[in-house]
Symmetry: C2
Subunit: 213 residues, 2 copies
DNA sequence: AATTTTCTTGACCGGTTGGTCAGGTTGTGG
DNA sequence: CCACAACCTGACCAACCGGTCAAGAAAATT
């Protein structure tokens, strides 16, 4: 029965425990908010004593900050598709798919982000003012190029971006409401496919997207 | 200087204080979440001693419940426009305008609702299962009738409703992010007009809305 | 004017929370 | 094998929080 347990290296221990803590923290922060979350609950969910958690993350706020930063970086990564696309149909279509997939697979992260922004971004305001502003400007430029090339109607790129964020993240942030309106059941594979289809159809038609070439 | 202060009736005192408390509570709950909000802070913001607040609302949860219920009723009221409209252009257009106006004038309420739903609706789950389900079914029927009458494309009414909620409430819930991306300034009258225009344009074109008759 | 009901509030309390710490255990590098 | 550094944790604490209460002030009722 006893597995041949090679002793873990310090590095492995550290990586493993930090991962356990961060995963547990994301869930607890998402379900209870920063104020409602307790370090004890995060520790229990990670399977560690509270004091051990404080060994890796000195304060509740430091842990929270790390959780939010990880989410933010995941999101930025998911948007590279944007730049390589020949036009809005491919670019926006793939972006909508990617963001809806994140909402499906990673809803807790989306909720933590939403909560942070709703509370006036006390810990990531600097990121909003630097990284997010740059990222948004870059993407707006891409959309403007598509407009100039006659590939879509002259929509204000900013409002289009907000609509994309709103619509895709809604399925994570308001997942509980959507589930309740779906007879208490989570959306099926088929329903998620329909969501992607509906969102892409409405938005791409709504902005008058035309195939490149 | 001294105003001729007629002594307030008990009824006036009660109404005035409950209003002060509810307004303060909505702001504090929106900014800090249920868990992060403290009764003391709400009392301070309302200009009353904490013990006095507990005289009107026995527990923090009872106060919170009242705040959420008020928001919910405001929202339902704002959607009567839907039924009287001859087609999607008038009905959805007016609904988008109304919901964006609420996001602008009443962002705290929207945030409290979002927070409540994100935390799995611990205090208004029964409302979701009854009132919200009925309301949604009714509105979906209206949209389906428009589709059957050839006034718009055959879009799944459910996903259309979610998109309307997501897009309009986004401007309240993520108002801080939007403000940051707007050089730290709140949206101007002109910008709010552009928002309404963009959202209506994209969605109405996106669903292929045609004028009734 | 007397009595009752409603409103007000400083002081207080038990429970919880984030965080500390001393002393122990375990892997690591020489 | 030894000395050191990294990791672990039960016990503890000060601060804070939601809620209570008793005693008084103000309005309503008679």
């Amino acid at each position: 029965m006893a597995s041949q347990a090679r002793p873990l290296t310090k590095k492995e221990i550290r990586e493993e425990n930090e991962k356990l803590i961060l995963e547990a923290a994301e869930k607890v922060f998402a379900e209870a908010g920063f104020g409602g979350a307790t370090v004890q609950l995060i520790a229990d969910m990670a399977g560690l004593p509270k004091a051990n958690l404080h060994y890796y993350f000195p304060t509740k706020e430091a842990l929270y900050r790390q959780v939010v930063q990880n989410i933010f970086h995941d999101w930025l990564k998911a948007a590279d598709i944007f730049d390589e696309a020949p036009g809005p149909i491919e670019g926006l279509g793939a972006y909508i798919d990617a963001k809806l997939e994140i909402s499906r697979r990673h809803p807790a992260g989306s909720k933590v982000w939403a909560s942070e922004v709703m509370h006036r971004a006390p810990v990531i305001q600097d990121y909003l003012e630097t990284t997010l502003v740059e990222w948004t400007d870059g993407r707006m430029a891409v959309i403007q190029r598509w407009i100039d090339a006659g590939l879509m109607d002259p929509i204000d790129p900013r409002h289009l971006l907000y609509m994309l964020w709103a619509t895709t993240q809604h399925y994570a942030d308001f997942g509980h409401q959507i589930e309740t309106l779906n007879n208490g059941r989570p959306l099926s594979d088929r329903q998620w496919r329909d969501v992607k289809e509906s969102v892409k159809t409405i938005i791409l038609k709504g902005i008058g997207a035309r195939p490149a070439q």
